[in-house]
Amino acid sequence: MPSLGADMDEGTLVSWLVAVGDRVTRGDIVAVVQTEKSDIEVEVFETGQVAELLVEPGTTVEVGTPLARIDSGSTATTSRGPEPTPGSQSEARPVPRPVPAASPARRHAGRVLSPLVRRDARRLGVDLGRVRPAPDGTIHRDDIAAAAMPAARPTRRRVSPYARRLATERNIDVSTVPGTGPSSAVVARDVPGAAPAAAKRTVDPMRTAIARTMERSNREIPHYYLSHTVDMAATVEALAAHNDGRSPRDRVLLAALELRAVALAARKVDEMNGSWVDGTFVPGDGVHVATIVALRGGGLLAPVIRDADRLDADETMRSLGDVVERARRGALRSSELSGATITVTNLGEDGVEAIFGVIHPPQVAIVGFGGLVERPVVAQGRIVAHPTLTVTLAADHRATDGRIGGRFLARVAALLRSPERLL
């Protein structure tokens, strides 16, 4: 059972997507796991043949529990979560993991397909040539389900984690509940059953998970806070010029430039890029930036964009758009929910001028971006109104002091002011 977040102790296996005897390649999606926050597609780290499935669907196990045995010549298990250190409590150490190879997506007449999508198409008898891909060529599982013959039904119905929990509590078989959520997903309101007479307040698992992380962060991490207000006139103008003439899907949003600025600064001032583990700072094996995504109806996910410093502006925008869309759809992969070396939080849209984040352990920093605010600035000896942005840093005082934090933030600010370096 992989660890998909600092706050995760256990997960529930929802379904196996492989059987004993199947050959799997590192990066293949082999199971679906349900956490408090979302359903996640789990990738396998070994290449070989499935020898034994150790956990039954519906079972909840602790992080680190082997889920399957893969015969690859060694006795490796499906996925390694951090092992709980003996004698201590559930805070698991993050083990630096090898980057799983991307799911071997094959091209089918110019379309990019993940193994899971190909499997769905096979199972549902869908001719891939009939399925309309997204502009970037990818086909998603939803597209296959939509194209499936009316007689066939997707073998896995979407059920929100909360709905699943309510159904379990009320002893209802969730497969008998018709769904009214997106794509006929079963959501909480679909689960029949009166609230208990002693009006007990139902606990939202997503909220609980977030609460645990925030509690732990504030309990363990001595935060210090810095902020900087940046004149964004040049960058706003350069961005408009960059997007001019481009169709909507090829445009870049300011959020992508903000993320890029953080990635580049974190590569340079790498004391902010990594983890605090057992009393010492462990530098990241790359710059992997998590971005906080607010989910409709409440809750947050923080998908990770790996090696964000190596992506150009357009690539950053594509990655960002992709993980945000999949985060909201509950279609993130396990490799995208862990391994962050720094986090970005962005409340620019909500009319907030500045946001000071809460560091996600075991990271040592989180950068916050507010919205664009017109402010008077001095330019060429005159007072003019320019769009400005307040960027903040919350950092772990065990790992760094204000001077390094200041140097990092100043670098982020300098990049934000220099669109030629970001675009």
């Binding site: 794509s183 909507p248 959020a255 758009g321």
Partner: protein, 81 residues
């Protein structure tokens, strides 16, 4: 495109971005971003989907003309010819 067709298209597009959207329940004179809790990513997706369906360019400079549902319907009707 007629007004009704534009409304229908917007309903489909917004329904994909903000599942569960019912156009009859939103105030057509208020910004869509407020009514449907859309951020810049969502708005860009909306333009992307509309571009795919209509072939119209939707330059960034026209974004203010699509702020409310009424604005968006009018824009689509005028530009689609």
């Amino acid at each position: 495109m007629t007004s009704d067709e534009a409304r229908q298209l917007l309903g489909e597009v917004l329904g994909r971005i903000a599942p569960g959207t019912d156009l009859d329940e939103i105030d057509p004179t208020e910004p869509l971003s407020d009514e449907l809790d859309l951020d810049s990513m969502d708005l860009l997706s909306m333009l992307g989907l509309l571009h795919e369906r209509t072939g119209l360019e939707f330059p960034e400079t026209d974004a203010p003309k699509l702020r409310t549902l009424d604005d968006a319907v009018e824009y689509l009707v005028l530009r689609s010819g």
